[in-house]
């Protein structure tokens, strides 16, 4: 029994050394692919959720994302992300009425300036035309659920959704 245990031990040790040799050539790639095929996704509070509709404006587009609802005790509020892009096609002052839910009626009036300096802090005003959405006054980026930021070639605005009463 002792001899068998020792033989198994050495076999396992040998297999471990062999596995070490396989790591850069096979195991690492296999595990990486395995992980990415699990169907996991990054929390939508960070990613903004998938785009559900695109509105064509004068020379640029507005992507409307699916509403993001925070989980459990997450400190953020529900929000909808809107992407203006490309930045190069945006006028110096943007003022757009956006139909977020696609019912044919305007939901919010979004206004912001687009400074030439890509690193300048942006500020946004959101006028709710539908009580479902909340107002934003000269907001920059205080939290994930209420902000305006420039990411690559898009200006992202996250409009908080009023909590249901």
């Amino acid at each position: 029994m002792k001899a068998l245990a020792a033989r198994l031990g050495y076999t396992a040790a040998g297999a471990t050394v062999f596995a070490a040799v396989l790591v850069p050539f096979f195991l690492y790639g296999t595990f990486t692919k395995g992980f990415s095929s699990l169907g996991l996704h990054v929390d939508e509070v960070y990613s903004g959720g998938p785009t559900i509709r695109t509105i064509q404006a004068a020379g640029y587009t507005i992507d409307i994302h699916r509403q993001v609802s925070p989980h459990m005790l997450q400190s953020e509020r529900p929000f909808v992300q809107l992407d203006w892009k490309p930045v190069s096609a945006l006028p110096p002052h943007v003022s757009d009425v956006v139909d977020i839910d696609g019912d044919g009626r305007p939901d919010v009036l979004v206004t912001f300036d687009v400074p030439k300096d890509a690193k300048a802090v942006l500020h946004v005003n959101v006028e709710p035309l539908n009580p479902r959405y909340e107002a934003m006054r000269n907001v920059a980026k205080p939290r994930f659920s209420e902000l305006i930021v420039r990411v690559d070639d898009a200006v992202l605005v996250r409009v908080p959704v009023a909590s249901r009463r």
Partner: protein
Amino acid sequence: MANSAQVLETREPRSVGRSLLLTLPMAVWSVLMFSPSFGRANLALVIAMILTAAFMTVLFFMMMRTRRTYRWRRWFFAVLGLLFPVGFIHEVVALRGSMAIPIEEMIAGRTPFCFIPIPLLILPAALTKTLVFPGHILAHAGASGSGMAAMAGIWLAITIVVGKGWCSYACFFGGIEEGVAALPAKPKLKRLDPRWRYGPWAVLLAMVLLSLALFEPAYCMWLCPFKAVSEYVAARNTVGLIQNGIFIFLFAGLVIVLPLLTKKRTQCSFFCPFGAFQSIFNKTSVFDVKIDRTRCTPCVLCEKSCPTLSLTQKSIAKGETLMSCMKCGACVDACPRDAAVWHIRGTDVALKPERARLMFLYAAWAMAVMFGGSVIADGLQTILHVFV
């Protein structure tokens, strides 16, 4: 008599020729790992790779020649800890001009992902298929490097090979601490309450539950001491300032002051949730460290030398290390009677411990060269860019 002869034999240095022969596979491995960069136009990178390959091979040769592990591994680890922040901070500062990660980068999924949040992501991922980290799953532009999948892949692969040995052969954060702990000649603080050993488990449990409840990587947001030398969330408000204050306080206390006073890896021993999580894999690893009770006096030199307090008089009496043992080899080197030995599960403790050591070292050092070596080369390259 036979016993003492055996002791002396195992402590004798190997011949140079035999040591070179044993080092040859690792030298080939080092060349193999770094050779893809040798033909590149970037001279700083080529020099960094050659220096790193030579450094890792020489250390392995010294391990073979002297039959000592910890002394030489510590050099690798301290250099890893020193050069990781150099390479990493240079990269993030070059990319975004600051160590602070702005909210834009988080939304873009460009937050660098290290291995520490892995245990915190498991429950939310299992329950909702959601990764509560503002990174990218696959390779993406910017500081996220190769993405979360790549880090998860390399962690799993290395863990299968070395288990908790990750903390001794791969963790660049641990390298910082071990380098600091190596500085004083003697510890000023010798008595440490053994109950602190439960700290990492408490932090792990609290952070796993908090990460699930708050749906954020709670440890990264609130407690990670290494944010002080890597990247941190740009403070947008008072909460952000408090978070950054906590990072600096914990880094100063657990990674600088306490290791200087105790000569122990105090952050790893008392705080690191990833270390606690990794301890679970000590149970699955085929390699471990045992105390041969037929040789042990016990002088408790092994207990004193252990950087993570993974030996107690009770465990020594049982001939075992605690679950938190990271296989650094400090106790094996410290034992004057060669009672602390490397061991392969299932085999007799007294039987051929050097064979067990060699098998473990080939596996662990191969991982150290591949993962830690690339971090060292990256840091070296950053420095060499100044001159070349």
